[in-house]
């Protein structure tokens, strides 16, 4: 095994592999920053250029680009509340408030360091767990996936401060919007009103461009001042603060990374769910959950660590069984076929050095991304100080072109416009946009796995799947936690109040 580890690294030390890795990382950062385009697009566009080169160099190019898009996504989420893709959504919740408070450099640095730590933890666990993971994956089925999606919904309470009822209405609306299009189980067109375009459903990236980016630009146009007005808010945070934050919350990083690794291992769950789940666990386990959504640095670190580790996890089923953990891993499988590599149990015996090359790529690409990221953080943090008259036309234009670019369909621009108005109104009347998107992301997963569970195990599927039952108990406990905490706080506040009154009397 030690030999495989060293030969895996040696394969990456050729000039071609180093050059490809660097090109991949820079390209991935640019693609990640563009709204609507993420790791999948980055890899898909690179695929035609991968034939005829060294295997390790090709994988360095593909994986390097894919890993770099993760932090690229985070940048626009933090600075402008514009998620580059579905993965970056969770970063908007606390990253953008930090930017508005003059903490952009700190948020970006914490995000980059969190992603690096998550990536390394993910890669190490990938290397350690490869022989152990097979029975675990085989033990889980659709019922367990259903419970995981339900767990993601428990974060709704976090975003409903002021009005839980409105928060719930927003998530119900989000779930219903996700059902627009052809039902994957019954092939029934739902809520399409005869439109051919709507048969494919509403694209998540486009909906998010509208809900967050377009509506934020509308607010900025009304305000007429920069996102961060230097006359009122000073950018006094530093890169070092962000690094220190990530290191200080090392236990959160470890927990989030393991969560990301775990979600990555599960085929078809996806990094967008991983980011939200990480945010949920960070908020639920925090001693001060009321800070979340208002600029808590933990809300930035946790999703990035999870997404960093998610890539390592996604590689596991792809390499060991040939089952892609997500869309990007499916593209990696296509690249494997082009390179003459057959994924499956033999990867762990005959091609172990290649497996370790990929583990090294994950580690090195994360380091390169973080070094570049930390170097450009202070410059990037200045972008939100640009005047609204410059920001509004440029960001709106890029958002609309990005919306068109997601599927090359002009109707997506109309969707971005409609969701922009919806996002503005939701924000104005305090219907949580975050809850809406959480409902939208998790709806399809919940419905699909519920249908499969009912078909496979019948109506009492929970009784037949003890792991799912245990997970349901866990979901209920974590859902109840915020309310229990709230009751405790009220009790404490009342006791404090009584004591205060007593002192006066």
């Amino acid at each position: 095994m030690l030999e495989a580890i060293t030969s895996g690294l040696a394969a990456l030390l050729t000039p071609q592999a180093i050059l490809f890795m660097f090109i991949g990382v820079v390209y991935g950062l640019v693609i990640g920053i563009l709204p609507g385009l993420g790791g999948v697009v980055a890899m898909a566009l690179l695929l035609p250029f991968t034939y005829g080169f060294e295997t390790a160099a090709t994988l360095a190019l593909l994986l390097g680009a894919h890993i770099a898009t993760i932090w690229g996504d985070s940048v626009t989420s933090i600075l402008f509340s514009v998620p580059g893709s579905a993965k970056g959504l969770a970063l908007c919740f606390d990253g953008y408030p930090m930017t508005k408070q003059g903490q952009a450099t700190r948020a970006l640095a914490a995000s980059a360091t969190g992603a690096l730590m998550g990536g390394i933890i993910g890669a190490v666990f990938l290397a350690l767990c490869i022989p152990l993971i097979r029975p675990v994956i085989l033990a889980l089925g659709p019922s367990e996936y259903l419970m995981m999606a339900l767990w993601g919904l428990t974060v709704i309470a976090t975003f409903s401060e002021g009005s839980l009822m409105k928060g719930l209405i927003a998530s119900v609306l989000g779930v219903l919007v996700a059902f627009i299009g052809t039902d994957v189980v019954t092939a029934t067109p739902r809520f399409t009103f005869g439109s051919e375009f709507l048969l494919d459903g509403i694209s998540f990236p486009v909906a998010m461009i509208g809900l967050f980016a377009v509506s934020e630009m509308m607010k900025l146009a009304i305000k007429g001042t920069p996102i961060v007005d230097r006359a009122q808010v000073r950018e006094d945070s530093t890169v070092w603060q962000g690094i220190r934050d990530a290191l200080r919350h090392w236990w959160l990083v470890v927990r989030s990374s393991l969560l990301g690794l775990w979600i990555g291992v599960l085929p078809g769950v996806g990094a967008s769910v991983a980011g939200l789940a990480a945010y949920a666990q960070a908020a639920q386990t925090s001693k001060t959950p009321e800070r979340f959504g208002k600029g808590a640095v933990e809300g930035v670190i946790a999703p990035d660590a999870t997404m960093g580790a998610n890539e390592g996890g996604g590689l596991m089923p792809t390499l060991a069984f040939g089952i892609p953990g997500g869309e990007s891993m499916a593209l990696l499988l296509v690249a494997f076929i082009g390179l003459g590599v057959v994924p499956g149990p033999e990867m762990l015996t005959k091609n172990l050095d290649l497996v370790f090359s990929m583990v090294w790529i994950v580690v090195i690409a994360n380091i390169v991304v973080t070094v570049i990221g930390l170097a450009i953080c202070p410059a990037l943090a200045r972008l939100p100080t640009l005047h609204a008259n410059l920001m509004v036309p440029i960001v709106l234009s890029v958002c609309f072109v990005g919306a068109y670019a997601t599927r090359s369909r002009i109707e997506d621009v109309v969707v971005a416009f409609v969701f922009g108005l919806l996002g503005y109104l939701m924000d104005k009347y305090r219907y949580s946009r975050a809850n809406f998107v959480i409902g939208m992301v998790l709806a399809v997963m919940i419905e699909r796995n519920l249908h499969i569970s009912l078909t496979l195990y019948g109506a009492d599927f929970l009784m037949q799947r003890p792991i799912a039952l245990a997970m349901l108990a866990f979901v209920l406990i974590t859902a109840a936690l915020p309310f229990i905490r709230h009751v405790r706080r009220r009790k404490r506040a009342r006791i404090g109040g009584d004591a205060g009154t007593g002192a006066v009397l």
Binding site: L34, A221, S397
Partner: protein
């Protein structure tokens, strides 16, 4: 329109959406409506409770609802948007909102009519000129550079299929 009236319009629209979903679900098979139908009913119940609740409370408490009203003492201050503004302020705010809506709608119309790249050029250039943020030559130069960068990135490097706009057939006829 008062804040309460606006909130009532919003909740009425939401309730109408949930009713529409319930009606549309009747055409689906039992499996296809298994989740949307109960969810829409749940949404309608929530909307009804919210509607009743927000009309029973004072205007300052419009951000609150039946479940979260207990958190009032612990929650942060009521957001500014919840406070009733004076009539004149409300009028100005409404005009500004209409302006912002117009900006986004203008870009949409340009994209649909001319395609993304001419729309980006006209919209960005027009915005710079109308706001007088830059002088005319500087504004045009920045617009040209930004449009070229957008074109290069999306349509040359990423090879996105271009869209020529609804007016393309008309322009073709002149050619």
């Amino acid at each position: 329109m008062s804040r309460r009236a606006q909130e009532n319009v919003v909740i009425a629209v939401l309730a109408a959406v949930f009713v529409l979903v319930i009606v549309l679900c009747q055409d689906f098979g039992p499996r296809a409506r298994m989740i949307p139908l109960p969810l829409a009913v749940f949404g309608l119940i929530l909307a009804a409770i919210q509607a009743v609740w927000q009309n029973l409370r004072s205007t300052d408490e419009l951000q609150m609802d039946l479940i979260s009203i207990q958190e009032r003492s612990l929650a942060a201050a009521v957001p500014e948007s919840g406070k009733e503004g004076k009539g004149a302020d409300r009028g100005t705010a409404f005009r500004q909102e209409l302006g912002a809506f117009g900006i986004v709608a203008a870009l949409l119309v340009l994209e649909l009519a001319l395609g993304p790249i001419p729309a980006v050029f006209l919209f960005t250039g027009g915005y710079f000129l109308l706001t007088r943020h830059y002088s005319v030559p500087a504004g045009l130069i920045y617009t040209a550079v930004f449009t070229a960068a957008t074109y290069g990135l999306f349509f040359v490097v990423l090879e996105i299929q271009p869209y020529h706009g609804l007016l393309a057939p008309l322009i073709e006829r002149f050619h």
